[in-house]
Structure formats: structure tokens, C-alpha cells
């Protein structure tokens, strides 16, 4: 592995440790009577932000209230992040391509699984509504967007990575660049030499 790539992997692997402390994802809500906005912050090990206020509003539409303890993911995510950080540092230090390939594929697989898992929870909460809820809009579901904007009754919901998530994505971009550099560009260079 090129020396510059090794350093990149090292830096990126260490940086993802920050996601343990920073909010990973956020769902910001805006409504005419909430000019100050409401925010749900999703950390790697808990929910934060205005969870209580949002839970108070959810009962009108029959959405289940959100509690950290309901999500098994919060118990293991920190360990997974630390695990990946160690793996990445090792891959950088060993400096061989195969360990890095193993690390990279596990990392991307994890990211895809995490996104799917998040989508699944959003689907569950948005569709499995209490049938005795006061506000019933036929055919309406309250699944927040995976990423982006969606209007849910009087609320506009914005779902985007927070600072932790952005660091994670940044690390993923760096790892991808290293993958391209080591496995694709190098191959091309070798081909051209032949």
C-alpha cells in the first residue's frame, strides 16, 4: 500500500471514534407553531434532542413513543465503531492490500446494513399506528425520510447526517479513495506498463 494511503487510512480510522461522542444523525422538525424548530438527535448509544416534546406530539397520530431502551442497536454500536477503528488502524499498520480489502468490505457492508436498519425502524414507527389515535388521516403514514425532506401533516421533516454521521461519511469516502487508488488505479498503471 502506498505510504500516503496508509496515512489516510490511519487518520480516517481514528476519526470515526469521534462518532461515539457526537450526534450521528438528526431529524429536524419544523411547523408553523414551532418557529424555534424541534430536533431529534440520534447518537450511537442513545436518543437525544427534543425527544420528550416529540413523544408528546406523537400520541395524536398514534405513533409509538421513542425510547432509547427500545432499540437494541444502541447497546452494540459503540463496540462496533471501536472495533472498526481498531481494524482500520491494524490494516494501515500491516500495510498489505488484502487486510485492507477485508476491512473496507466489512465497513461498507456495515454502512449499508445500518442504513437499511434505520429505514426499517422508520417504516415500523411510521406505519404501525395506534388505531384509536385522535387524528386519523386515511392512507396516511408518518415514515420520516431516510435522507432528505418530507411533509408530514403540519410538520416538515428534514433527515440528514449530523456531525458524527458526516465524519463517518468522510471516513467512508477516504476509504473508498484508498480502495480505488490501490485496486483500480494501480491495476491500470500496471496494465499500461505491460
Amino acid at each position: 500500500m502506498k505510504k500516503s494511503n496508509k496515512i489516510l487510512v490511519l487518520i480516517a480510522s481514528l476519526s470515526i471514534l469521534a462518532t461515539i461522542f457526537l450526534p450521528f444523525w438528526k431529524i429536524d422538525l419544523w411547523a408553523p407553531q414551532y418557529p424555534e424548530g424541534l430536533g431529534l438527535k440520534i447518537y450511537t448509544n442513545r436518543l437525544g434532542g427534543d425527544v420528550d416534546v416529540i413523544n408528546g406530539l406523537n400520541h395524536y397520530i398514534g405513533m409509538r413513543t421513542l425510547h432509547t431502551n427500545d432499540f437494541w442497536e444502541f447497546k452494540i454500536l459503540n463496540a462496533i465503531i471501536i472495533g472498526f477503528s481498531i481494524l482500520g488502524v491494524l490494516a494501515a499498520l500491516i500495510r498489505k492490500k488484502i487486510p485492507f480489502l477485508f476491512f473496507y468490505s466489512m465497513f461498507i457492508l456495515f454502512a449499508i446494513l445500518a442504513l437499511y436498519d434505520f429505514w426499517r425502524w422508520e417504516y415500523d414507527y411510521g406505519h404501525n399506528l395506534d388505531s384509536s389515535a385522535p387524528i386519523q388521516v386515511p392512507g396516511m403514514a408518518y415514515q420520516p425520510p431516510l435522507i432528505g425532506y418530507k411533509q408530514l401533516l403540519n410538520f416538515g421533516a428534514y433527515s440528514f447526517p449530523d456531525s458524527g454521521g458526516l465524519i463517518f461519511i468522510g471516513a467512508a469516502v477516504i476509504f473508498t479513495w484508498v480502495f480505488i487508488s490501490e485496486f483500480i488505479l494501480k491495476k491500470k498503471a500496471i496494465k499500461n506498463e505491460k
Binding site: 416534546v53 408528546g56 385522535p134 387524528i135
Partner: protein, 648 residues
């Protein structure tokens, strides 16, 4: 000929003197307008006068934000009606539902407005109140013994070491025999100046000492500042010591006095044990934000320094004529006396007063207190300023603004050279005025607001009873410009203003539920319950959008006293809940997020009585209701409660 005569007659009777026009600034709309969604520059705290409350306006818009209940019951918020707030209006005469809030005074630090508290005086049953500018709630009310009419009150020293209150009506003292002939005034009636200490961190009030004075009427006062810090100046009238027809009998003398009090000297006397502890009964009421309840304690003694016994404590300075305002300029050097019936404005010099005391330049004495020679204390007089001067405040540029009740105007003049710079009419008959920070070492200037006594044709008429009018003038230029005319509630006697950002950043949004230590609080729906203690039924009720728990209660009987202790479980901004039950001889409850308040209800008939949330809290506010079943006395219907079971 007849036609000519008629026309001439009409022209003569239709002529008004010129120059009485309404000169509104061309830019007035722009200067006074605060666009929707934008904030005012200043909070304006305006006394409600005979309403007993404190009103909060914004400047320059003149918009009314809030009426804070202080000395009068307020059925809207349940102030003085709920079990928790009733003790705040307790006095040595029992529960008093009304008083007259005359003057607001903002707390100061280093001679500058600091935005922590605003104080107020009750004029009828003498008391001083402290209002928090975090919660905009009245936190403490302290009654004043040995006092009649608390007009010269409350006034702060420049670091809020003391809030000072002086009496308007001299009376026999509480520790003396009060059953005396009224015309024995000169022998038996005395005045009291109360020096109330203010806790540095928590603002807690206590009467540090009272100065027992000759029997005169004290009108207004101001603390010395900067070089004159340590002294206090009180205007006094009725030095004729009349007890009847004061309108005539108290206006006889050419000069009354300003009483200069050396309170640092008073502190020395207190330390040296020269004060006398005299019996007195007065109420001290405090509201606790954590238990959301008030406690009323009866004090039973007060420390008194008597001017007949202690020398070098105070001095009289002659002042024409029945003085009202007594105002100290920002440097603390000049003291302006406004004599209601005077033709000049005397300005006294603190340095000259000190020199006169040192050299004993006295002109006899009054009740044992030396009278300083008028010329020895005088810096100069503002000549022909207007008719009926009442009150003066200052800007940051060495100018003074004095209100004139009789000639209905504000006059701007320079303190150093005593020259008149400008005059503007007020509509009509101004009482006091307010320059933001105009009584402190660091006036903010920008505006002067006139608070008037006569409104007549200024606004759409509303029958015989009219609002009081106020005018806002821009004083940023050389000449004062009228930019807004706005009505006020109650009868403002005085007002103070504070820059908005000193207060906005500390303004409380909710009360934290986990900090709620109310003895009957329910911190969640699981804690809601109903308990019977003899004939008292305590309902621990919760409220949250949009239901009460419990909302069905049975087993109450005739002869019971029912206490609805309602906790607002919300922790979101601007979600109060209200509470009322049919037929209650009581007001509503208005409960803020995280708070608990109690409504006492004595059922007066058998049946099912509805209760409901009175504050529009949510989309399903109309569904936020409940029922309470009242059975006959001696009935054995069990005490049950729930929310959520469907009917049979």
C-alpha cells in the same frame, strides 16, 4: 348685518390660541414601528396605580406584553385565589385583596440597571414587593410597620444595598398609644423611613432599620449616587403639620424641605447599638419557585433610629413649595427639587450641602433637625420653567427633563448652565416621566415617555371612564420629537425601562418538572391519585395535551373540602393549562409547564359537576374535560378515580 354679526361671533368664539398644535415628528411612524416578528429595544415597566399590578410594555412600539399581578387579586392567573398564592396578599390586617402599586424601581449594580428584579410599593396598606425578571412573577412582599401611605417608595441605592420606603401620612407609631385626638398631630404623629436590605444573590428583603422622623408628608425620594452615594434625599411637604384640609393648610409655607439622610451614619448607629428594637406586627410573604407555594410569616419587631435622639443623621434643605420630585443627576452632584406650586426649579449641590453641614450654615431647626441655609445649599435655580413641576430624569448628555403638570409639558434644560433648551406639550397634564436609565449613573437616553393624568379626546371615547394616555418622545436629537401616543392600563404613576437584552436571555421558558417540590405534585400520570383525609379530599391531578388524570372522580360528599392539585406535565414552550370547575366560588387556575397549583372547591350541591381546561392548549383542547360526582353527606359511594375506561 345679522349674518355678518353671526359670522363674526362664530369666528371669535372659534379662536384658540396658536401654538397649541399637535407637532408629531414626520418620521414618527418609522421610529415607533416595530415590524411583525421583530423585538422592541426596551422593556418598559409601568406601574398600574389603582389596578395594583405591574404592566410590561415594549418601547418604541408601546405594545402591551403582560400585566403582572402584584398587590391585587387577578382571577385570570388565579393570583390571590389559588391556595399557593393567597399567602402573598396576607398582611397584619388579614388578607387584603387590593392595593395601589405606585412606583416601579429596577435593581441596580454599580449605578447601572442590571435586569434582575423590579420592586414596587403598595400605597394603601404599606408594603414593598420584589418581582423576578426571570419568571416575571412576584416573589416577595414585605409589609412595613409604623407607616401610613407608602408613597415615597420604593427607591434603590446604587448597588441595591437598600430599597427605601417613606411614609406619606404621618400617624401615631405602632408601639405608642394610637387612640389620640386627630388634632394632636404635632405631638403624636410621626413619619417612618424604612431601609429594606436586599440579599445580594437571592434578593431576599428584610427591614434593616427604620428612621423615625418628624410628622410631615414624604413625597418622593432618590438615592445619592457616585460622590453622594451614602446619602438619600426625600422631598417632604406639609411641614405646616396640618391634619385637615391639607389642600389649603399644607400650602401655606413658602418653602418645605428636602430631607437629606446620611444612611451610612445610620448604619454606624445600628452597629453601635443605638437602634431600639420596638414591637411591631407586619407580614413577610415569600413565594418559592421550587415548591410553587407562598409562605406568610408574621414579624414582631423592628429596629428604629429616632431623629429626636440621634444627631448628625439628617438635615433639612429648604425647597419651594410643597416639593414632589427630588431627583439626583447621574454624577450625584446635583439634586433637583420640583415644588408642585413653585415658580422656579431649585438645583442643590451635594458639595455645597457637605460644606454647609461642616461649617454649620444652619437656619434654625425643625423638630430638632438642623435646617441648612437655602443659599448655602443652592447651586442655582432654573427660572420660569413652567407651572407645577413634578419630576425630573436625566440623559447621558448632561440634560434634564422635567414634567409640568399644570402647564402640561416636558421641559428640557441643561444641568450645568440651567438654561432651558426645549419644551413639548403632553396630552394632557403629565405626572411622571421616564428616561430609560434616567435615574441611574448611566442613563440610556433615546426616549422620554410622558405618563399623563388626563386623556379627554386623545383616543376613541369609552364613556366616562377613559384610559390614561402616554406619549413617547425621541430625545436623540437637540429637540424632543413626539413619535407615539399609546393608552395604558390602570393609572401609571411612574415607569422604568431596561434594554431588552438584559432580560431576554434570562427569561424562563418552563419550570423543570424534576425540580418541582410541591407537596401535592404528581410528576407523572402514575403519581395521580385521590386521597381522603377526614372531610378533606386531595386530588393529585396531572394535565397534559389533551387530558387530565384522573378525569372521572366519584365518592366526594357534601360537607367535603375538595382540593384540586393540578400539575402541568408539559415541558414544552408556551403550553399552559387552565382549570375550572362548575360553580366554584373561586377563580381559575392557570398553570405553567412543570408547575403545580391548587384550587379549593367546596361542593354546594349533589350531582355531577364538570371541570375542564380553560387555556386553549391543543387541537383537542375541547376534549380536555372531566367529571366529579358529589354524593350526599354520609353516602357510602366509594372514592374512585380513573381516566380511560369506557362507560357502561
Amino acid at each position: 348685518m345679522i349674518v355678518l354679526g353671526l359670522v363674526a361671533g362664530m369666528m371669535i368664539t372659534g379662536c384658540k390660541p396658536k401654538g397649541v398644535g399637535s407637532a408629531v415628528d414626520a418620521d414618527a411612524a418609522k421610529k415607533a414601528y416595530v415590524a411583525p416578528g421583530k423585538y422592541d429595544e426596551f422593556y418598559n415597566f409601568v406601574s398600574g396605580g389603582f389596578s395594583g399590578q405591574l404592566t410590561v410594555y415594549g418601547l418604541p412600539s408601546g405594545r402591551l406584553f403582560r400585566i403582572i399581578p402584584v398587590f391585587s387579586q387577578d382571577p385570570t392567573t388565579g393570583w390571590g385565589y389559588s391556595e399557593e398564592t393567597k399567602p402573598m396578599l396576607n398582611t397584619s390586617h388579614g388578607y387584603v385583596p387590593w392595593d395601589d402599586y405606585h412606583h416601579p424601581e429596577l435593581s441596580q449594580t454599580n449605578g447601572e440597571v442590571d435586569g434582575r428584579w423590579v420592586f414596587g410599593n403598595a400605597n394603601n396598606t404599606p408594603r414593598v414587593a420584589r418581582i423576578s425578571l426571570k419568571s416575571f412573577r412576584t416573589e416577595e412582599i414585605l409589609e412595613l410597620p409604623n407607616s401610613g401611605g407608602n408613597h415615597s417608595s420604593p427607591f434603590a441605592t446604587e448597588n441595591t444595598e437598600y430599597i427605601v420606603a417613606g411614609t406619606r401620612f404621618s400617624v401615631p407609631m405602632d408601639d405608642q398609644n394610637g387612640d389620640v385626638a386627630i388634632n394632636s398631630y404635632k405631638d403624636n404623629f410621626r413619619g417612618s423611613l424604612s431601609f429594606i436590605s436586599v440579599g445580594k444573590e437571592d434578593g431576599k428583603l428584610a427591614i434593616a432599620f427604620q428612621i423615625r422622623t418628624p410628622g410631615v408628608n414624604f413625597d418622593l425620594a432618590r438615592a445619592g449616587k457616585a460622590k453622594s452615594h451614602g446619602w438619600f434625599f426625600f422631598s417632604c411637604y406639609n411641614t405646616e403639620q396640618a391634619n385637615t384640609l391639607l389642600e389649603v393648610n399644607a400650602s401655606q409655607k413658602d418653602k418645605d424641605f428636602i430631607l437629606a439622610v446620611n444612611w451610612k451614619k445610620a448604619e454606624e448607629y445600628v452597629k453601635a447599638g443605638k437602634g431600639k428594637k420596638l414591637p411591631a406586627k407586619y407580614a413577610h410573604n415569600t413565594y418559592n419557585e421550587k415548591t410553587h407555594s407562598a409562605v406568610s410569616v408574621m414579624e414582631n419587631e423592628v429596629l428604629v433610629l429616632d431623629t429626636r435622639e440621634l444627631k448628625d443623621l439628617c438635615y433639612f434643605i429648604p425647597c419651594p413649595k410643597s416639593p414632589h420630585g427630588c431627583d439626583v443627576n447621574p454624577t450625584g452632584e446635583y439634586i433637583v427639587g420640583s415644588g408642585k406650586l413653585a415658580a422656579v426649579l431649585p438645583v442643590f449641590s451635594f458639595d455645597k450641602i457637605q460644606a454647609a453641614i461642616a461649617s454649620k450654615a444652619f437656619d434654625g431647626s425643625f423638630d430638632g433637625i438642623p435646617i441648612i441655609k437655602y443659599e448655602a445649599a443652592l447651586y442655582g435655580e432654573v427660572k420660569k420653567p413652567g407651572l407645577g413641576p413634578l419630576h425630573t430624569e436625566f440623559d447621558a448628555n448632561g440634560n434634564a427633563y422635567t414634567s409640568f403638570f399644570v402647564s402640561s409639558e416636558i421641559v428640557k434644560w441643561n444641568v450645568k448652565d440651567l438654561k432651558i433648551l426645549d419644551r413639548v406639550p403632553t396630552y394632557y397634564s403629565i405626572g411622571h416621566l421616564c428616561v430609560p436609565g434616567g435615574n441611574t449613573r448611566k442613563p440610556f437616553g433615546k426616549y422620554v415617555i410622558a405618563y399623563n393624568k388626563i386623556t379627554k379626546d386623545r383616543y376613541l371615547p369609552t364613556g366616562p371612564e377613559l384610559t390614561q394616555s402616554a406619549q413617547l418622545y425621541d430625545i436623540s436629537g437637540d429637540k424632543m420629537q413626539l413619535i407615539l401616543d399609546f393608552p395604558t392600563t390602570g393609572e401609571p404613576h411612574y415607569a422604568q425601562a431596561c434594554p431588552a437584552d438584559l432580560i431576554t436571555k434570562n427569561s424562563l421558558k418552563i419550570y423543570k418538572l424534576e425540580e418541582n417540590k410541591h407537596p401535592y405534585a404528581a410528576h407523572g400520570e402514575k403519581e395521580a391519585k385521590v386521597e381522603r383525609q377526614g372531610n378533606k379530599v386531595h386530588i393529585y391531578m396531572t394535565s397534559i395535551r389533551s387530558h387530565f388524570v384522573p378525569d372521572n372522580i366519584e365518592g366526594v360528599r357534601m360537607g367535603d373540602e375538595v382540593y384540586f392539585h393540578v400539575t402541568n406535565l408539559e415541558q414544552d414552550w408556551d403550553v399552559p393549562h387552565g382549570f375550572a370547575v362548575k360553580g366554584a366560588n373561586n377563580a381559575e387556575l392557570l398553570i405553567m409547564p412543570g408547575e403545580t397549583q391548587t384550587l379549593k372547591w367546596v361542593p354546594d350541591k349533589v350531582g355531577v359537576q364538570p371541570f375542564y381546561c380553560t387555556d386553549f392548549c391543543s387541537a383537542l383542547h375541547q376534549e380536555m374535560q372531566g367529571y366529579l360526582r358529589v354524593s350526599p353527606a354520609g353516602s357510602n359511594v366509594p372514592l374512585t378515580w380513573h381516566t380511560g375506561t369506557v362507560s357502561k
